[in-house]
Symmetry: C2
Subunit: 418 residues, 2 copies
């Protein structure tokens, strides 16, 4: 079987499975999830052994220590996968809930009801725990899933997916509801992108190269989980103590994640007061600051920022700093250079807050809080498949509801159109 | 300026305009719409003259009479465009409405609020009235729009778009909020498809060729308005009088539209009773019937249907007919051959209705009513930009709300993540 035939056959099987999955009861789906968790537990040693293979291969090809850390499974990481599944089991099933209902003058009753999307492909890189997290969320929302992980994690991913399938099927999971692409060839991703007959959605989670490849090639709708170039803007009326705390948290609490900030914007009127204190605080955290001319006039030890710095997602202890003339310039900077992910204003002014939240075109806009809260768990969704940086269907944290769509059911008594 | 540069420049300008448009008040947008309607009225003769040019060109290249009919503008069609704008003016503005709001244990208040999508391109064929209908809905929902109509209607479309721009700008419409692509080259569509930096959404309305071209080429999210291969399934427990009325209406009331049915499925238990009466009724409407073997055994004068007939969108007085063994076969036929648009069951059984509505994977599923009700107006949305046959973001009739997305605004008092 050629790669294309293999992928097409996975798609056809996933579609058939999705029809069965869509009509399973919540109770049945929860029993399936429970059995998946149990099987991960039972196969713990096999999974760790598979992961050792990946780690060895990774070391021999010289993966960075950061990559190896992401790749590694430990007993506690397996525990956390299992705990993750139990959490999702406990969440409310969105399928079947009525979004709205109304009656037309001709007596037709229209009900807008939540239904599964159908078949979803998750294309991701390195972390093998995504295999379990993503599969389980898709299944709970009634969707078949085709997983495509990174080549460096192939043994781990196969071991995890095999456990999920075996456990699930024991409790009535339709065959082919969870599938994993065994080929590590990039061509397999291209074939998935051309599978619009059977795939309803591709969610890519990974680096810029992967996302660009999928965007350029996909005939299937895509919801991108792209980069986070996030900002804090410290307004002229800000409480400077609060601003310092928020900047510290947004940059330093976990610099390697998408909702950490990469650029700090400061209103010119408070720059002289604020910037030296800000620089002191960041110095204690070993954060490298790269400033524009106006901020370097106040804190001369900052490196000079270049145009590229305003676009950069450092994911590291580096921060670009710019003094802006007013709120308009801050909004303009964020809309132009940002990635429309998470941006915050620190301000004492309701008017400034209102303008900022109206005019910044981002998925999540904060007033006087850290951008680090952009997260399904922090939002109260219970779990998330990721953070959408797209505008259609789902924006920001994507939980179970965002993995569903709707249909209209119309009840009549013989109505015809005049 | 090359075609690419021209399209990129339109995109950049549309993005800038969308920032201004997004924060206009409902009152301001309504004044803009009103001025657009007034300007169409004022330029009625110019528009009719431009349309005469298109009609002449169309005749000289031998457009079919159906195409010419779609292309033609008359005084009454211009009236109806103007009335359409006044209707949209009266509709409630969805922008700024709160979808939900909750408070987290840490005190963060999360508000999910409706906002414009941004920049939308509508790519359509022949009917010039779409120029006004689509532009006005996009503007009311706060979006910039780039229109690309069919080459045969270019003079009409330009005249209409010029009137909308001129009228709107007088009342504060941002420059470049409504733009029309002047090139009639297919390459212009390709350039729009590559404009992911500036375009948030492409809505194609047209034939299969156009839709396939856009799906294959677009890096911009697409919501397809694809074909309607719609079904009525007459269940064993159906009221046959009602079934006849619904079939008649769904096929004959307006056969050339996407929510008319193309295939009739009949349960084997009632086929002998139902099919002859059905055939009599359709004979009076000059509908050509194409049946499978089992239905031709009952009504021998039907032509024989081929496999292609089950996929066909005739948009004409032709109907494919098939006898099915049970509800399962009906559902399977619809999910396999249909276009997931509008499908109906006629039944006296609540259980059959529930299974049909659960298992048929279509945007709108009817119980005992005609499929012809799939329409923004009939649903009570006031107006529609079309019928989405996709599953993401919007499914079925797309009104003003479906031309918006949301953002999360999070209000804090200095919260940081632990």
């Amino acid at each position: 079987m050629s790669l294309r035939e293999e992928i097409v056959s996975m798609g056809r099987n996933a579609r058939a499975a999705s029809r069965k999955l869509a009509i399973l009861s919540s109770r049945r789906k929860n029993a399936i999830l429970q059995a998946m968790a149990d099987e991960l537990e039972a196969r713990r040693d096999q999974i760790l052994e598979a992961n050792r293979q990946d780690m060895e291969a990774g070391r021999s090809v010289g993966l960075s220590s950061a990559m190896l850390d992401r790749l590694e499974l430990t007993a506690s990481r397996i525990d956390s996968m299992i705990r993750g599944i139990r959490n999702v089991t406990a969440l409310k099933d969105p399928v079947g809930s009525k979004i709205s209902r109304w009656i037309r003058p001709n007596g037709l009753e229209i009900v807008k009801v939540r239904v599964p999307i159908g078949v979803i492909s998750i294309i991701y890189e390195s972390r093998p725990n995504v295999t379990a997290d993503a599969a389980v969320l898709c299944i709970k929302a009634g969707n078949s899933v085709i997983l495509r992980g990174g080549s460096e994690a192939i043994h781990s991913n196969l071991a995890i997916a095999d456990a999920l399938q075996a456990g699930g099927i024991r409790q009535g999971l339709p065959e082919h509801a969870v599938q994993i692409v065994r080929s590590t060839d990039r061509e397999a991703v291209r074939e998935l992108c051309h599978l619009d007959e059977y795939l309803d959605l591709i969610i890519p989670r990974g680096g810029e190269g992967l996302i660009r490849f999928i965007t350029a090639n996909s005939r299937v709708p895509v919801i991108k989980h792209y980069k986070g170039v996030c900002h804090v803007y410290v307004d002229e009326s800000a409480d400077l103590e609060m601003a310092i705390r928020i900047c510290e948290n947004a940059k330093c609490q976990r610099p390697g994640v998408c909702n950490a900030i990469e650029t700090l914007l400061v209103h010119q009127k408070i720059a002289e007061q604020f910037l030296p204190r800000m620089a002191d605080m960041f110095r204690r955290h070993n954060v490298e600051l790269r400033g524009d001319e106006r901020s370097r006039a106040i804190v001369p030890e900052m490196k000079a920022a270049t145009e590229e710095d305003w676009y950069a997602e450092y994911l590291d202890l580096i921060l670009a700093v710019r003094v802006v003339s007013d709120l308009d310039s801050a909004v303009e900077h964020i809309n132009h250079y940002g990635s429309h992910h998470s941006d915050a204003i620190v301000t004492g002014s309701d008017k400034a807050a209102r303008r900022f939240t109206n005019e910044v075109d981002s998925a999540t806009v904060y007033v006087n809080a850290s951008t680090r809260f952009t997260d399904g768990g922090e939002f109260g969704m219970g779990a998330e498949i990721g953070i959408s940086t797209d505008k259609l269907h789902a924006r920001g944290p994507m939980g179970l509801e965002e993995l569903t769509t709707y249909k209209y059911i119309i009840y009549g008594s013989g109505q015809i159109r005049e």
